[in-house]
């Protein structure tokens, strides 16, 4: 997935970019509306994260202007939280909004929700052994069989799928799965990994436990 982040605060932008990159997304950063214009002129994006207060204008005006010819979904990042502002953002063509400061997990969740709602193409499908996994819609198909996954199972599978063959520590997984303050212990990861193993049983992929370090997904091809 290719994201465009329009945000004038460099530190925040950097953090967001890094975080989204963890999920395997390519993120371009524009620090102003004019930069954003340039980016949009040369590249196709799957999602735009748009700050409303930018040095060269109001993000919402930009949104209203662009809406006519760009169909890319937009999530507005706003410092305003008032009801009327939120409603206004949606009215002006945003697909969703998120107020600063935000939880990365929530940002990811919203991005996924928007992309899913927009029904993006299935070009992000990942082959897992004999099965095909679409992290966006959360569907896992093995031949004619469709396996039901819970949200966290999807998240977990996505992390493993994007890092096939890599050892992922429990703490890394927890960061990706839970909000920072979720009252969970590393045992919870064991529970989820256990569940996921049962789901992908017989697909030619497996999640191995690397004692003392974490887990690793092994596929036949690799």
């Amino acid at each position: 997935m290719r994201y465009l982040l329009v945000e004038d605060n460099t530190e925040l932008a950097e953090a967001v970019v890094n975080r989204l990159a963890l999920d395997g997304h390519a993120v371009d950063h524009a620090a102003s509306l004019s930069e954003a214009e340039d980016c949009l002129a040369v590249a196709q994006y799957d999602l735009i994260l748009l700050d409303v207060m930018l040095p060269d204008g109001d993000g919402r005006d930009f949104l209203a202007r662009k809406r006519a010819h760009i169909e890319t979904p937009v999530i507005v990042l706003t410092a305003r939280s008032q009801v009327s502002d939120r409603v206004g953002a949606l009215d002006q063509g945003a697909d969703d909004y998120i107020t600063k400061p935000f939880d990365f997990s929530e940002l990811e969740a919203r991005c996924r929700a928007v992309l899913r709602r927009r029904g993006g193409e299935s070009r992000n499908e990942i082959r897992l052994g004999s099965a095909v996994f679409d992290p966006l819609s959360g569907t896992l198909r093995n031949g004619d069989e469709s396996i039901d996954l819970r949200n966290r199972e999807i998240r977990l599978l996505e992390v493993f799928a994007r890092h096939k063959g890599q050892i992922l520590s429990k703490s890394q997984l927890m960061d990706r799965l839970f909000s920072y303050d979720a009252e969970v212990t590393e045992n919870a990861i064991e529970v989820y990994v256990g569940r996921l193993r049962r789901r992908i049983d017989g697909m030619g992929v497996r999640i191995e436990t690397v004692r003392g370090l974490g887990y690793r997904m092994e596929t036949g091809e690799a």
Partner: protein, 457 residues
Amino acid sequence: MTGTGSIGRRLTLLLAGVAALLSVLSWWMVTGLARQAAERTQDNVLAASVTTIAETLRSEQGEVRLELPYSAFSMLGAISEDRVFYLVATGDTVLTGYEDLPVPRELVPSTGRVVFDTGEYSGEEIRMATVTRLVLAGTQPVPVNVTVAQTRRGVASISAELSQLAAFLSVAFFLVAVSLSAFAARTSLKPLNEIAAAVSRRGPSDLRPLRRAAPTELAPLMTSLNRLMDRLGQSIRSAEDFIAEAAHRIRTPLATVRAQAEIALRSAKDEDQKQRLRQMIRAVDESSRSAGQLLDHATVIYRSDDLVRSPVILSDLVRQTVAGLEPTAAMKDIQLHVDAIPAEAEVDPVLMDNALRNVLDNAIKYSPPETVVRVSVSNADGEIRISVRDQGPGLGEGPADQLTQRFQRGNNTQGIVGSGLGLTIAKDVLEAHGGRLELETLNEKEGTCATLVLPSS
């Protein structure tokens, strides 16, 4: 508003005052004219009477003779029940009649011209008509004065009668004028009232200039009003801009801090360090959430004074709001289940969305992962009920009412970010709509049911 009173009343009173003045004036004039007319009538009859008598004056064997014609007095009797006196004299010699009648002695012997005078006789005011005729007595022409006098009771009674009629008409005129004045005042003030109504009909944030056809006199008012609204709009806009700018300036660095802290948290190895970072993030979240809810609460209070109601299909509103919160719920694998019948109500959609969002947010926040939050809309007994049931720990001990008070949080909220304003906002919104918020713990640890109750229209 006190002191200057109502323009309508002032206008009515002013016009009524003018009407009263005109009424009195017209009464006075009619009375005067009536009296004049009555007096003229009497004078005419007196003149006719005196002339009739004078015409009988003749000279017989050197003596002045006359004959009172019957008609001379009967015509006087015909107009009123007034006492009649008369005197015929030549110089100081009385030929006949009431000798002591106070006739002016020096009369100009202008033949045929009737002279009138007013005097008093026999205890009453009298009107006298005198005519002087020259009669040949012997060889000398002698001037003979014929005077007929009549009391003025008839005049008085006719003018009193007409005056009474005039008074009656004046009062009638006055009453009609007053009601017309009230009508006129109301009509003239109608554009003003219409402008007032147009202004008061407007929503709290509608500061567009008034575009109405108004009478010339009201144009300055309209201009000032529009200028005031423009200034107000500008100042509100600049205040809003300021708040937005301030929020941006504060929240963006906070977001940076939070993001960096989260990244640090991920890479931190030491549990102590992680704990501190978590606390830091939580503090950031709390401050941002509190600020948000405080502003929301202020908005609710501000908009509650003047609700912008519009017909809203509540089931649609519920679905939209739920959809907005779905990603948040999904993070915890919480299913949001909506079961809504189509119900319509006149509400402020922005406020209702806010109220429901707060209730739902609470439900999601306090629910354990992988549970279900059920939202249902029902319409019964004149009430529309939007229920939000979670499978959380319930409300805990203590009266449920307290939870809806400002900055009150339940007993079971440890470790969860919240300002305590969420339910207060929901309650205020519902009360502004004539509804209420009901909170109850479902059977033993089976969660909470929060119900938004609205009167159905």
